[in-house]
């Protein structure tokens, strides 16, 4: 098991270099000069531009820039953003916030999606099933920014149940609404996956066996049906973590969450290579980590695919 984890971690190394190189290159070839854009509609003096380009190594050829960046990384230095702030501290500031949001959303998604899916599956064709399928259809067809705006106005402005935007320090109670909004985007998939796998599991022989042993529904459903139905949903949740990070960019904008999304968006728009690459790299590593975690959880859920020691 340890060997397996070690191997997976080692696999992350080429991914790390590949991603950084690729993203750095993409930022590099993005049209436009980030320094010129710093001056807005004003045309800066060429000498000032040269001065600034040198400061950010933008006057160097691509590979020199890249290796300067990577060299910094190995000294634990992600570089400095255009605003003069160390990227390390930007990462440290923004990632915990987005992580909190994503984990919260993942939590809502998991609990609500699986619970509703399970009950729907158990009551196929009944009122609950039909209405939750209907709701999920609505949610799946709404783009996340519509859900976000509507939620913000309904719960923030109208009802006043929640702050319209996230307050300073991004406390968990302020993040609940954005997290729910974020979760809605994938709720339908998780709910439907759980529902269909519940339906499938319900008709499995071992469920009949469980009843034939004299077990009650209260035991059969969580122990025998749910656990077997979880497997496809868990796989989906793993891949969905990436979607959550992407969705977070939009949600963070609308709810003014001081997280990764907006910083990254602004960095891309401004062509800040080191910032973009640092953020994407951390996101990729996070994604790999979550996938490893889910793979391990997967083995926990289903012994048939447990990895040999």
């Amino acid at each position: 098991m340890t060997l397996y984890i070690l191997r997976r971690v080692l696999q992350a190394v080429p991914v790390f270099f590949g991603t950084t190189l690729l993203i750095y290159f993409m930022v590099f070839v993005m049209p436009g000069d980030p320094i010129i854009a710093l001056f807005g509609d004003k045309s800066p003096n060429p000498a000032v531009i040269e001065q600034l380009r040198a400061q950010y190594h933008l006057d160097q050829p691509f590979f020199v820039q890249y290796f300067l960046y990577i060299g910094g990384l190995f000294r634990g230095d992600f570089g400095v953003s255009f605003s003069g702030e160390a990227i390390n501290s930007i990462l440290q500031r923004t990632f915990p916030v987005t992580a909190r949001l994503a984990v919260l959303a993942l939590g809502f998604l998991t609990v609500a999606g699986i619970l509703v899916g399970l009950v729907s599956g158990l009551r196929k064709g009944k009122f609950f099933d039909n209405s939750s399928l209907g709701v999920s259809l609505v949610l799946i067809s709404l783009p996340i920014f519509v859900t976000a705006f509507v939620a913000q106005y309904v719960f923030g402005v109208w009802l006043g149940w929640s702050r319209t935007t996230v307050g300073s320090g991004a406390p968990v109670q302020d993040l609940i609404l954005p997290a729910i909004v974020l979760a809605t985007a994938s709720f339908a998939q998780v709910m439907r996956l759980t529902r269909s796998s519940t339906l499938e599991t319900m008709n499995q022989d071992f469920v009949r066996t469980a009843y034939s042993k004299g077990l009650s529904r209260r035991r059969v459903i969580p122990v025998h049906i749910l656990r077997n139905s979880l497997i496809p949903s868990v796989t989906y949740l793993a891949t969905d973590f990436g979607v959550l990070l992407v969705g977070a960019t939009i949600t963070e904008g609308i709810f003014n969450v001081p997280g990764v999304g907006n910083t990254l968006y602004q960095a891309i728009i401004r062509g800040e290579g080191p910032t973009v690459v640092s953020f994407v790299t951390v996101m990729v590593l996070l994604y790999l980590g979550v996938n490893l975690l889910i793979d391990l959880l997967y083995g926990l859920l289903d012994p048939r695919i447990r990895y040999v020691k």
Partner: protein, 578 residues
């Protein structure tokens, strides 16, 4: 060993008090009262707002220590009626009539009381232990769960008992099996675990629903022996649901024959086998392939000079290492030949490599070593294009006709597709050929417009043959073509295959685990075990005077559809193995 439930209950006061209320209602075995008494039991399934009967007015009783076999083909209602006893049918069903356990009516019982009956008074053994056991829990967990549900024992007590039970069902290394997941056990071990679970509460009645159908013949014999031993030791009544007359002959005291939801005949096992009254029972018995009852098939034209259609010389096939799955040698140094018009029965238990050989013969799997020739051509050194041409000279019939036909294509199109792709025929000409083929497999020509789900299993398998024969192949590979079919359907299907072969003179590699079927068809037989060829020879050489001990064991394990002969056979086998 019988567990004394009363004393066990005393050890755990909590459980005792919890079950006090139910004691009065719990049906306790009493002298003179049948364990199970079924009266006017009817089961219907609601299909499209209509009640379709599955079992009609069934009446039977099972006494203490008795084995009642309910025999019938698929759809006869034998399983549905037995599940109705425990009220374990899907929600779209309706049950009427009376079911009494030890004189206590089970119908209309409160669900909490019913739960006490299930598992504790009546236990079930299902057909396929791989799916009947929950794959994500250990065997031990599932047995302990049953024990704790009914007795409220501590985990430690339950574990001790579970290991005892696993020992009782002769599970090798019970403590290890306790911690094993179902997929880590062999088929026979899984069924042992299933049996251990079902006898865990020492039930008064055991319902065994096709308990050995999914197992290899030698494993089946072991499980049947186990059931018989346990039956003797536990003295519980057994309802044995099966389609296999051999199993009936081996185990049953009395027999109920069901057909289309009705009981057509019942009696003691000797009555049924010796003097069947109803035509259906007679038909059923005669349809069972009897090992050793067939005349040897002679090759139509014994021109030994003719070149073999399929020849394997020292063929070895490896499945390469894939990820963490190590390389596996499926076929090891096998040599065999099949001549035109000849049918070679390739026999072996699951995992013996027989299907692999069949696929290699079709050019679907590359061979690792040796030489494989089809119609005289070496498959290994053949370019892909020629391989494709060669495949037209071979046809294959798969085990499961349902999944090998495209459900969205009318069967006529499925039959015609190979011809269309090969450019043999199209348009009107193709239609004609399809109709000819349907006639050859004795299906009405209008069937060509039907979809697979509109056909029965036997009909689908005929379509499978028609498709395999559409390009007039010189070699037909039939991979367990009858294992999904009922006995009576199977015998008609086998007759058809014989006729077709005599007519069309193709060579046939017939893969089967069922010696009786092979007995009926094969000119020659090859026996495989763990990828190695154990023995091959003419049918009589193999089945009548086998030299290899494995072949002998295989033959001895086949249950004979005759209670007396089977008993003889069994005693002979058991004494031989001791």
């Amino acid at each position: 060993m019988v567990v004394d439930r009363e004393t066990e209950l005393m050890t755990d006061t909590q459980a005792a008090s919890a079950s006090d209320a139910a004691v009065d209602i719990t049906p306790v075995a009493r002298e003179g009262v049948p364990v199970l008494e079924v009266k006017d039991l009817s089961v219907d399934f609601g299909v499209d707002n209509e009640w379709v009967p599955a079992a009609i007015n069934l009446n039977y009783t099972v006494n203490k220590g008795e084995v009642l076999a309910i025999v019938g083909e698929s759809g006869s209602g034998k399983s549905a009626s037995s599940m109705a006893v425990l009220n374990l049918l899907p929600v779209n069903s309706r049950i009427r009539g009376s079911v009494k356990l030890n004189g206590v009516e089970l119908r209309g019982m409160r669900s909490s009381e019913m739960r006490r009956v299930r598992g504790e008074k009546i236990a079930v053994i299902f057909q396929e232990p791989m799916t009947a056991l929950n794959p994500v829990y250990t065997v031990g967990f599932q047995i302990v769960e049953t024990l704790r549900q009914h007795y409220g024992w501590s985990p430690a007590t339950a574990k001790t008992r579970a290991i005892e039970l696993l020992t009782m069902v002769e599970m090798p290394d019970p403590p290890k099996a306790f911690n094993s997941y179902p997929h880590q056990l062999s088929g026979g071990q899984r069924q042992r675990a299933m049996i251990a679970q079902s006898i865990s509460c020492d039930p008064d009645l055991l319902i065994a629903d096709e308990p050995t159908t999914a197992l290899d013949v030698t494993v089946q014999a072991e499980i049947l022996d186990l059931l018989r031993n346990l039956h003797k030791r536990l003295d519980s009544a057994i309802v044995l649901i099966t389609h296999d007359m051999g199993v009936v002959a081996d185990l049953a005291d009395r027999v109920v024959v069901m057909r289309q939801g009705l009981i057509v005949e019942s009696g003691t096992v000797h009555q049924i086998f010796a003097k069947p009254v109803e035509p259906y029972t007679i038909e059923l018995l005669s349809a069972v392939p009897h090992l050793g009852s067939n005349k040897e098939r002679l090759l139509p034209r014994s021109e030994a000079v003719r070149e073999p259609v399929l020849s394997l010389k020292n063929v070895t096939i490896d499945y390469p290492k894939r990820g963490r799955v190590p390389a596996f040698r499926a076929v090891d140094d096998v040599s065999l030949e099949i001549h035109p018009g000849e049918l070679l029965g390739l026999v072996g238990e699951s995992g013996s490599g027989k299907t692999t050989i069949g696929r290699a013969a079709m050019g679907l799997i590359p061979i690792t070593e040796g030489e494989l020739r089809v119609v005289g051509k070496d498959m290994a050194s053949m370019p892909t294009k020629e391989l494709r041409l060669l495949r037209r000279k071979t046809g294959i019939v798969f085990q499961d006709p349902a999944s090998s036909l495209n459900p969205r294509m009318p069967v006529g199109q499925s039959i015609g597709e190979p011809m269309l792709l090969a450019g043999v025929a199209k348009g009107k000409e193709l239609d004609k050929k399809v109709e000819d083929l349907l006639e050859q497999v004795e299906l009405p020509t209008f069937f060509r417009n039907r979809y697979p789900h509109e056909l029965s299993g036997g009909q689908k398998q005929r379509i499978g043959i028609a498709r395999a024969l559409s390009l007039s192949p010189q070699l037909l590979v039939a991979d367990e073509p009858t294992s999904a079919l009922d006995v009576s359907v199977q015998s008609r299907f086998l007759e058809l295959l014989l006729e077709l072969q005599e007519q069309l003179d193709f060579a046939c590699l017939f893969i089967s685990h069922d010696l009786a079927v092979v007995d009926q068809l094969a000119h020659r037989i090859a026996v495989l075990r763990n990828g190695k060829l154990v023995e091959q020879g003419t049918r009589d050489q193999i089945l009548r005077s086998a030299k290899d001990p494995y072949t002998q064991r295989l033959i001895a394990a086949v249950p004979l559809p005759d209670p007396d002969k089977q008993r003889e056979n069994r005693e002979h086998r058991l004494s031989a193995s001791r």
